[in-house]
Symmetry: C2
């Protein structure tokens, strides 16, 4: 993984990953989880106007408290001892990011990346269904992870989505991605999302290009 | 627009849009804006562990207050007198959704859909850049709006993304989409995101299919 790590280093060259201790990560992940729940409550609340305004004012106070000490940049990535990396605050798998579902992802020995996730009404497009663009967001991310797991990390160059049927929200979904071939700096990766009935709802192919310097 | 409205009605047939008064919408939009700011603060905060835990506990209390009266579904769409619709709580343009940037979109007479937006660190992929999947999320949404503006609304069938250069975050971006042709139930739409230097960062083509019943 040393070469892959060097390539990731080139992509993330602008930033020296700063390690966060496990305890710190857990505390921030708890906070992000609470804000994720708050976000869903905001989208679904039916409390009266006065209560909406009162809660909004209190949210502003909490924001001010968190902003008394502020990083310049999010805690973006950390490298593990095995060269694997965690995108702690990314919008898809980042446990520290309230807008991430988050998708829980595992990288398997054969380079397959598998994730499980449930999307709530916050991610809704058509009623009862996941927004098609949210499916694209999740697929782009796991495609990129599979390119990295293949030892050929890169930036997305093209992403082709095929929507087979609606993706329901509020139920467990799985996503799976695997690199299918590499040609020079280009790596082609395929992925799909599967609903609880085992049927593929969305398929995607991504082409990733390794940075040269 | 009557036919287009009927087609939107078929897509959204599971739900009778319930009108929210302007005052109600403004109050909920304020709350969502405050939670959007809180979300950014969570991703960037550097306050100590005790304060992180204290804020998390208070967020949970606010969530409980909002959940004392809860809708079954988000306030998804509303039709205007002109047949146009607003996706109030959608994850891209929805002012009532804390995860939406939100992208502010205008539909022009010639059917072009134009939006302006700024994405913060919450939407980050590579350092300083917008996550490629977030660009896909935004483009899918405006492509769908342009299909509807063309009088041929539909569900996304395919979405092809071409990433030309990194999309920076923290700066104003524009997105533009327009239907280029229709064949039977299929409508082809093109869109792109432009950075502050006027250069296109990402291009997309979408094919939308009108529902038949």
């Amino acid at each position: 993984m040393t070469e892959a790590r060097a390539a990731m280093g080139r992509i993330f060259r602008a930033r020296e990953p700063r390690g966060l201790g496990e305890e710190r990560v857990e505390g921030l992940a708890e906070l992000a989880a609470r804000v994720r729940e708050l976000t869903e409550a905001v989208v679904l609340t039916d409390v009266d106007d006065a209560e909406v305004a009162a809660v909004a004012a209190q949210v502003a106070e909490l924001t001010a408290r968190l902003n008394t000490a502020r990083r310049q940049e999010p805690p973006s990535i950390e490298f593990g001892a095995d060269g694997a990396f965690r995108h702690l605050a990314g919008p898809v798998t980042g446990r520290l990011n309230p807008i991430a579902p988050p998708v829980e992802v595992a990288v398997h020995e054969d380079g397959t990346v598998r994730g499980v996730f449930t999307l709530n009404a916050v991610y809704e497009g058509p009623p009862g269904c996941v927004h098609g663009g949210v499916a694209a967001l999740v697929l782009d991310h796991v495609l990129g992870m599979a390119a990295a797991a293949n030892g050929t990390p890169g930036m997305t160059a093209t992403l082709d989505m095929r929507y087979r049927r609606p993706t329901p929200h509020g139920v467990p979904l799985t996503v799976e991605a695997k690199a299918v071939r590499s040609e020079g700096r280009r790596t082609f990766v395929e992925a799909h999302i599967t609903g609880p009935d085992g049927k593929v709802t969305v398929e995607a192919t991504g082409m990733f290009v390794r940075p040269v310097h």
